[in-house]
């Protein structure tokens, strides 16, 4: 088990080095940083001095190593746009996005998994077929349409939900949370629903397909022959065998959700990383963009590693296979 974890971690580090290399390349290909930083009045001397102080005269490898070492310590440089620490900028926005994504993920699991089991075991009944049909609608609706519709119905027409923003937030150290205030929680509802709708339908359809597959297997029939009650077979014996792909997809999708959050954040004016990134793109704010790239990749890699380790926890066959 320990060997397995160490292997996964080494793997993760390798991936991060490659990502950092790509993020570093953005600096090199997206024009001369010196040109982007200086104004028209500066002399060649100023430029040379700036070039020297930025370390741009060093070799490519030296610069890459320096970038990696700095990035590993959380130092992504200074925003071109407003001269603030990039890490600080992101840290400020990070909690908003993560809270949104986490709530959406929990929502999609809490609703998607039971619905999937239900539609699998009541296959052919009208309520199961209706859910199945609605899930196709859910999969095909783009999230910005869902967001706008939700705003139209609940904020504009009914007027019971805020249309934008995060409500009041409470600071817990560097983490600002909207979960502890009433207005913060209310503000989270619509964006979380619009972000999770697609995930709910995806998880529901995945669980349904897996359940139907597993329920046909011999060990389920044998469990029935042992006299295990039906509900226990469905929710214990069968569901556990379905969890592997669900965990993979959920974890992969946390990454995808952060990406989708870009759209949801724009629709709901949610002050998260997605909004920050869009602003960075419009201003060609390269340090912010490359930091965003690194951090998102970092989240992906961490999730992947956690998924691999969770696999081994769920499936005893993988624990020994990796020795």
């Amino acid at each position: 088990m320990l060997v397995f974890i160490i292997k996964r971690l080494l793997n993760a580090v390798m991936v991060m080095l490659v990502v950092a290399f790509l993020a570093f390349l953005i600096f090199r290909v997206a024009g001369d940083p010196v040109e982007l930083m200086v104004n028209e009045m500066s002399t060649q001397d100023d430029r040379d001095r700036l070039r020297e102080s930025l370390g741009l005269n060093d070799s490519f490898i030296t610069q890459y190593v320096r970038f990696v070492v700095n990035a590993a310590q959380g130092n992504f440089g200074i925003s071109f746009r407003n001269g603030q620490e990039v890490l600080g900028l992101i840290a400020e926005r990070f909690p908003a996005t993560m809270e949104l994504v986490l709530v959406a993920t929990i929502l999609s699991l809490l609703i998607g998994v039971p619905l999937g089991v239900l539609t699998a075991i009541h296959r052919g009944r009208w309520h199961s077929e209706t859910l199945q049909f609605l899930s196709i609608v859910g999969v095909s609706l783009p999230s910005f349409v869902v967001g706008i519709l939700l705003i139209l119905v609940f904020s504009v027409t009914l007027g019971i939900m805020p249309a934008f923003g995060r409500g009041e937030v409470v600071q817990l150290g560097w983490w600002s949370t909207g979960l502890l205030t009433h207005s913060g929680r209310i503000a989270l509802v619509l964006p979380a629903i619009s972000l999770s709708l697609y995930q709910i339908t995806l998880i529901m359809r995945l669980v349904r397909a897996e359940m139907m597959e597993v329920m046909r297997s011999d060990f389920i029939k044998f469990a029935r022959a042992r006299g295990v009650p039906r509900w226990r077979i469905q929710f214990r014996h069968a569901l556990k065998n379905c969890l592997m792909p669900v965990i993979t997809m959920t974890a992969m999708n946390v990454g995808a959700l952060i990406a989708f959050a870009l759209i949801t954040e724009t629709v709901f004016q949610w002050p998260g990383m997605g909004m920050l990134f869009i602003q960075a793109v419009t201003f060609i704010d390269i340090p912010v963009m490359s930091a965003y790239l690194c951090i998102i990749s970092f989240i992906f890699v961490v999730l992947n590693t956690i998924v691999d380790i969770t696999y081994a926890l769920i499936d005893p066959r993988l624990r020994n296979a990796t020795r």
Binding site: F219, F222, R226, G227, V228, R230, I314
Partner: protein, 326 residues
């Protein structure tokens, strides 16, 4: 036979309603098993032998259903019970052994967890007592170091050991009846002998009745007390094993025996039964075996023979009817 049989099946009929009409998978199947007795059920694939086992356990896949006859377990009628009531019978009063030990255990739970689950469901013991019993069961079925093995997962056992675990699961609540569906087919020959010997021993020790479903006459010959031969969803012969092997009453049974190689016997060529078993939706009129029967008579093509006393058992053949009622 003055005792109540453990399993008493009378005129059992199983049907599968389908788009092109109803297919009758089992018809007029009657047999009984006494305490401590092993009844072998043989036949070709598709003859309905596994179906009979599933029907007794109430495990037919819908739309299949029992449409006639009755099943009594220790005198109590069980074919009319609801699925919820059958859950208390399955595992507790009827133990099951499946064909493939590699797929009949849930890969994500340790064998101990699966044993403890079964024991607690049926006997209502606390966790600690149930675990002790699980270890005792593993010892009984001959698994070495059971106190260590109890926490292992199915993939850590070999095929033969896994089948022993499956047998332990079948025995978990000391059932009166065990239905073993091809318990040795997926195992290699030396393990087969161990498993059949184990079944025999458990049957003798506890007076458990066993319904042993297999296509392997060799297993039947070694293990069973009586044998029931099935063909196209019906019983064609029932009798004591030694009698049926030495002196088969039905031409189909005779054909089956003729196709088994005997060790040491000099047989130039094994006989085979020409043709194949009819599909269940195209069973010929009269005796279902008549198109393949070497001794077919006119009567066989028109009238279906019922099981009737013949030799020291029963067989469903007009030939014997003529002999016994001259």
């Amino acid at each position: 036979m003055t005792q109540t049989p453990i399993l008493d099946v009378k005129a059992l009929r199983v049907e599968f309603p389908g788009r092109h009409g109803t297919v009758t998978a089992l018809a007029d199947v009657s047999f009984s098993i006494q305490p401590g007795e092993i009844l072998g059920v043989v036949g070709e694939s598709g003859a309905g032998k596994s179906m009979a086992g599933l029907a007794v356990q109430g495990l037919l896949e819908p739309p299949g259903r029992v449409s006639g006859g009755e099943v009594r377990l220790d005198g109590r009628r069980i074919d009319t019970l609801t699925d919820g009531e059958m859950e208390k019978v399955r595992g507790k009063e009827i133990g099951a052994i499946f064909q493939d030990p590699l797929t009949s255990l849930n890969p994500l739970f340790s064998v101990g967890q699966q044993l403890v689950e079964t024991i607690r469901l049926h006997l209502g013991l606390d966790r600690k007592t149930a675990r002790a019993r699980a270890i005792a069961l593993l010892t009984e079925v001959g698994i070495p170091a059971p106190d260590v093995r109890v926490d292992h997962y199915p993939h850590q056992f070999s095929g033969g050991m896994r089948q022993r675990v499956v047998i332990a699961l079948a025995l978990a609540a000391r059932p009166k009846l065990i239905i073993a569906d091809e318990p040795t087919t997926a195992l290699d020959v030396s393990i087969q002998a161990q498993i059949t010997a184990l079944l025999r021993k458990l049957c003798d020790d506890h007076g458990t009745a066993v319904m042993l479903v297999t296509h392997d006459m060799g297993v039947i010959a070694e293990t069973a007390d009586r044998v029931a031969v099935m063909y196209a969803g019906r019983l064609v012969e029932v009798g004591p094993v030694a009698e049926v092997i030495a002196n088969p009453q039905h031409p189909y049974t005779a054909g089956l025996m003729g196709s088994i190689p005997a060790l040491g016997a000099r047989v130039p060529m094994l006989t085979q039964i020409d043709g194949s078993m009819p599909r269940l939706d195209a069973i010929p009129a009269g005796c279902a075996f008549n198109p393949r029967c070497p001794k077919v008579m006119d009567r066989c093509r028109v009238e279906r023979p019922e099981l009737m006393p013949s030799g020291s058992g029963q067989s469903a053949c007009w030939l014997k009817a003529m002999e016994t009622t001259p």
